[in-house]
Amino acid sequence: MAKQIEVSDLDAYYGSHKAIEGISMTIEPRSVTAFIGPSGCGKSTFLRTLNRMHEVIPGARVEGKVRLEDQDLYGPSVDPVSVRRTIGMVFQRPNPFPTMSIFDNVAAGLKLNGRFSKSQLEGVVEESLKGANLWNEVKTRLNKPGAGLSGGQQQRLCIARAIAVRPQVLLMDEPCSALDPISTLAIEDLISELKQEFTIVIVTHNMQQAARVSEKTAFFNLAAQGQPGKLIEMDETSKIFTNPTQKATEDYITGRFG
């Protein structure tokens, strides 16, 4: 089910402000790709162009191509709703639906996509919660509100919700930045498991995390404040962290800026 993503010469704008420019890359299936770079260089913006979430911001638009295998995501006949259904997303801040129970949160995406019997739903919810390593903690209180969980649990609930619809790609924007170290570890373990099945892209500010979980790493940077962000280099994670080609990458990784 996992798919390769190919991006060519992509620019993204907020109104007249160009946030990222000329990005081309290939994201491999069944692997984890990490995006790193200083704050404001456009990592989140780029990530959101991969499932057409960028354009939900008023005035935002995209130029360039993103292909999932052989389909152009920005093709004229492609419905952004179905793109988002195919390419799931987990956000920086956990955002379960506060009025829904844990069960309904996980089932929310499925219920959109057709009728399922109660037992089918129960099966998928259990499977997804197990997949998100949350099942054991919540199995006795599936009917309680999702907002009653801890931050780390809420984030895993959001992951369960995202994987319940069986997406082909999972995008994660700093999924651990609001979490404590234990929850962070739980989610990193989860990412390693999920990559058996999904193509995963993760934005992170944590170098160790990128090194621990990812196969490929992409480094983004801005030439100067107010300039659009660019992809500086992308390679095997081990190579980026030990022997980067670009001076800027090395400076960033060794903590000389950013």
Binding site: N51, M53, V56, P58, G59, V81, S82, R84, R85, T86, G88, M89, F91, R93, N95, P96, F97, P98, T99, M100, A108, G109, L112, N113, A147, C158, R161, A162, V165
Partner: protein, 313 residues
């Protein structure tokens, strides 16, 4: 909000006193409204030869005064509820249009257009109602009466323009802006992160609204509707010109019946004797209490909502 601590300084006393006193003046006014309405209603209530709460007719000017709030309270409640039923769905639609559908650049201008509806004075709606809506409503009312008479409210032998339905329609137009404005504000406050969560799951715009906006906005919409209900009940001049001013209890909203406490005050004040004035004041007291109740309920819903928002944060 915390204010920085400060030393009490010279000259501050009188100013603090004045502003505190103003706040208290407001409370005194509210209490005085209740007290003076009661005091001036009592003589009339004592002269009444019937039971005020259950009597339907309104003859306080007779030598043997007979009057009661029954038919008036009924008309007030029914016309306001019909207005609410008509106005709320439209207002929620308008609010969604401005918060989630209209192009960003136009949204605030279009919102202002709806606010303008609220700026039109009641008496102008009354005039419009009498001159335009009353004759205009004849044919749709006849249609309803002809084909839907099996629904009791549309039954009856004669159909008139000056009906409960027409009055309710004017009320609906008048309360629409307030319901729309409050709903719009709460819809705009719906948390962006949950809207994005829904969209990222592959929800269409409507599904996103159903998952992330409406559940969040529901208490706000309820409050808005209650405030609109309070407005409709107290609305006077527009309906005074339209209601046929009968004193009966009937659910036939197309026929010549209908009245309200407020309309009766406006229509009956001119010819009222001292006892008649007292009777009108008594009916005003009932209106005051009902609107007080409705408004307090509206505030309580909002107060609960704050706690809920804090719990969800």
């Amino acid at each position: 909000m915390r204010r920085p601590a400060f030393r009490r300084s010279r000259g501050d006393g009188p100013f603090r006193f004045l502003s505190t006193a103003s706040g208290i003046v407001l409370l005194v006014i509210m209490a005085a409204i209740g007290v003076f309405l009661v005091v001036k209603a009592i003589p009339a209530l004592q002269a009444n030869t019937s039971h005020f709460l259950t009597e339907l007719t309104w003859n306080p000017n007779a030598t043997q005064p007979v009057f009661g709030i029954g038919a008036l309270a009924f008309g007030t409640l029914i016309s306001s509820f019909i207005a609410l039923i008509i106005a709320t769905p439209v207002a929620v639609g308008v609010a969604l249009f401005i918060s989630h559908y209209a192009p960003r650049r136009l949204a605030s201008a279009l919102g202002y257009l709806v606010d303008l509806l609220a700026a039109v004075p009641s008496v102008v709606y009354g005039l419009w109602g009498v001159a335009f809506l009353v004759p205009f409503m004849l044919s749709p009312s006849s249609f309803l009466n002809k084909y839907f008479a099996w629904i009791p409210i549309f039954g009856g032998d004669q159909v008139v323009g000056k009906s409960m339905l027409t009055a309710s329609l004017v009320l609906a137009i008048m309360i629409l802006p307030i319901i729309a404005a409050i709903s719009r504000e709460v819809f705009l406050q719906a948390p962006r992160i949950q809207e994005e969560a829904a969209l990222a799951l592959g929800a269409t715009r409507w599904e996103m609204i159903r998952m992330a906006v409406l559940p969040f906005g529901r208490p706000g919409v309820i409050t808005a509707a209650l405030l609109g209900l309070g407005r409709a009940m107290g609305e006077t001049i527009a309906v005074a010109l339209i209601f046929p001013a009968t004193f009966t209890i009937s659910f036939r909203i197309l026929s010549a019946n209908g009245n309200s406490i407020a309309a009766n005050i406006a229509n009956g004040f001119g010819e009222a004797t001292p006892i008649g004035r007292g009777a009108l004041i008594a009916s005003g007291l009932v209106l005051f209490l009902i609107t007080l109740l409705v408004n307090t309920a509206a505030r309580l819903v909002i107060a609960r909502r704050k706690e809920y928002a804090r719990a969800a944060a």
